[in-house]
Amino acid sequence: MLHTLLSKLIKNSAGKTRFLMALVGMSVAIFLILSAVQLQVNYYQLLHAKDNQDSIANFLVVNKIMTDQNIGSSSLSEEQIKDIQAQPFVESLGNIVPSRFKAAIQSNSDRFPFYTDIAFESVPSEFLDITTKDWTWTEQSNYLPIIVPNQFLDIYNFQFSISQNLPQLTPAVVKMLVFKVTIQTPNGPLSMNGRVVGLSNRISSMLVPQSFMEWANKRFANSQSANASSRVVIRTKDPGNPMLVSYLKEKGLTTDADKTRFSRYRQVVDFVVNISGITGILMLAFALLIFTLFIQLTIASCKDEIALLVLMGSSPKQLKRFLMRRFYPPNIWIALIGLILISVTQFWLFQFLKEKQIFLSPYISAYTVMAAIGILLVIALVNHQSIKKWLRQKK
């Protein structure tokens, strides 16, 4: 009630249109800053999450360069592996263990016959870009889970099936096929069912669970060093790191060539985050400046009314509270609407990227909400200070 009376006395002298435009500027500023925060959080999540099919974090398969000199000794020694692991750019390292026995896979179905000799490799699960509950094997298991490189399916669908007049296969169909895996053991062939449980982009190899590899190599290996690795997979934050490149060169090692697209993603993300963050902060600064001007103008144009209110006994606190209530609440609405818009965008992004096997949180991060609260606090502080300053100056 007092508020209504005071609003009749203390009017926005600068005009509604200009006030609205300042609010629009403030909205854009808050939206940009919050987007930058959310983008940074999403990016960080992609960089560090384990469950992303196409994670931005980089995994490199490292092996010796095959030359005339090292034919027959292509495996990495334990010292070499330890040395690689000790490098600062290596976040973690996993041994890739090859199968040391003969194996073949064969179709169970007459409609879709195939047979091929094959070899497997295994890596620790955290280096896989696939998480599925099927990725386990024990001696009691009904079938052997296998992860196949995506390229294999591409080669099949776009070359082989066409040349052989065979049906093309989708990833879903491939995962449904059960085939026969036959291992040549010293005691004769051993057969079991096999099934493809995932298609990997990261490691170009037929992969089986480590538990199976250890079990099979121990029993059926035709060489001594049963579980020695042929090559390793490393996790690194930046595959374009010059130290990494020169290290590999110096040690006669090599890795998958085309990993640069990830660094390019990162540059784009960094660029967008920086631009939207800096623009947002600049706009926020300008919007705050305009708001303090509004406050100054309003107080200046109502100085007679304010003086009379003070004579009537209204305390500086009451006036400050009134002016805060006049200027501040739109900011809360703006921040809320900004958060809602970003939530909607995030959910949309989550659904869009899910189809691409990239997993983001469907909700906005706590950091984004905290950033919104932080911005509101800054605005409150600036408004409060300028109201205090101009009320005092008026006197």
């Binding site: 009630m1 009376l5 006395l9 004579l311 006994g313 209204s314 305390s315 006197k395």
Partner: protein, 220 residues
């Protein structure tokens, strides 16, 4: 509650613009030491130019260009900060200015209501209606104050001053534009309000009068 009721003590008070005039030699207030006891009703008779309005403004803490001191319960008015001054004006000191100081663009009712809401819980809005009909301005309550006649504005200002608690009511020519009948109504309303609060009053005017039962008459 020793602080509840307030004594006003003036110590060698003189507005700086009046300092060099000889007027104050006959004055009962300027450059004298006076004590206004609680609940005392005081008339200050002051011919034009003797600083009547200055006196009211100094007591109310609007003017600071004076020498000497105004003490409210032994506290120097000059030491009051803006919060303390606001508290003084909300709870202990009420005032009727000679120039009334109404908000012209608010209605009569809104002017009074504003004051009532600044000291929340003291008076209900019904009391405004009662006082307005007592003083015969209930018909103009919804008119903007600016287009009310001066006599009506004076009565609005009187009711407004009674919307708050106070120990002292300070009035500067409050009845100048009222006829005798209206003066009588207004004065008896003010008297009963002051009695109800156990409050003192200080009224400054040009001429002698019998509007209230004064305990003291001073010449400025």
């Amino acid at each position: 509650m020793p602080d509840r009721f307030m004594e006003i003590s003036l110590q060698s008070l003189i507005p700086i613009p009046l300092k060099d005039r000889k007027l104050h030699e006959q004055s009962g207030i300027w450059k004298k030491n006076c004590l206004f006891h609680q609940a005392e009703w005081i008339k200050i008779q002051a011919p034009s130019g003797t600083g009547k309005t200055s006196f009211q403004h100094i007591l109310y803490g609007i003017r600071h260009d004076y020498e000497g001191a105004v003490m409210y319960n032994h506290q120097n008015l000059k030491d009051f900060d803006e919060d303390a001054l606001a508290k003084l004006r909300q709870e202990q000191l009420s005032v009727i200015f000679q120039d009334l100081k109404l908000f012209g663009n608010l209605t009569a009712l809104e002017n009074i209501e504003l004051k009532r809401l600044l000291s929340p819980g003291f008076r209900t809005s019904d009391s405004i209606q009662e006082m307005a009909s007592l003083l015969g301005i209930d018909g103009i309550l919804h008119q903007p104050a600016a287009i009310c006649s001066y006599g009506e504005q004076q009565r609005i200002a009187i009711i407004r001053a009674l919307m708050q608690p106070f120990d002292w009511l300070i009035m500067d020519e409050p009845f100048s534009h009222l006829d005798d009948a209206n003066i009588q109504k207004a004065a008896s309303l003010i008297a009963s309000e002051c009695k109800a609060r156990g409050a003192g009053l200080i009224i400054t005017d040009l001429e002698a009068d019998n509007h209230f039962n004064y305990q003291r008459v001073l010449y400025l």
